[in-house]
Symmetry: C2
Subunit: 97 residues, 2 copies
DNA sequence: TATATTTGGTTTATAAAATAAACTAGTTTA
DNA sequence: TAAACTAGTTTATTTTATAAACCAAATATA
């Protein structure tokens, strides 16, 4: 009756990151940190998890001399995100069928 | 930008329980267990948490000689549920504004 | 030119949650 | 009367989320 919610996405911060990434071509660590309001440590950990799951690609480059971590959502990530949204919606409508 | 998701509802099982309760007058432990597919232990713990938060009322009665635990959602619970749904929806739409 | 301070992170430690396994108390059935 | 079942609760374990501490390099400051 209630399908399982992808545990990788059923996390406030990871969901927020995916939400941001799905709307843009790419986003860097600083951007994600600002938009989500997360601490750097927490964000670092959650980005790593999304990467391990291949929901996002992570590219470590340099902006001049400063490091810059760029994230992009993958097709697999888009798929998973859309699926999560669809699944949790079924928890919302009153007349559960 | 991303509002915090009520941690009491951001749990697969508790959300499922609330989803069921919002659609009915009342439901007992056995019904909730069957519909959610949860183990009795897990369900017991999560019902207790929802009760503590006053999101549901729990009434322990007897059906003949067998114990029967009846749950009902409270107005506060309805409010919280609706708020949770509204909040998480903001994580879904691509063009985060 | 030392020396703070800031930037952009990672690693490690801690607290909280979810979950399952074990247990209880009583009931029904063989 | 003993085994199995019902309707749960309690306890223990695993997993998560999160913050705190740390690091290396860059930049600003005295």
């Amino acid at each position: 009756m209630f399908k399982e919610l992808d545990p990788l996405l059923h996390s406030q911060l990871r969901l927020a990151v995916m939400s941001l990434l799905i709307g843009v071509e790419e986003a860097d660590f600083v951007f994600l940190k600002e938009k989500t309001g997360a601490t750097a440590g927490n964000l670092s950990v959650q980005i790593e998890k999304l990467k391990e799951a291949e929901y996002i690609d992570v590219e470590k480059t340099f902006q001049g001399k400063m490091p810059r971590t760029i994230c992009r959502i993958t097709p697999k990530g888009v798929q998973a995100f859309e699926n999560y949204v669809k699944t949790i919606q079924t928890y919302f409508n009153t007349n559960n069928k």
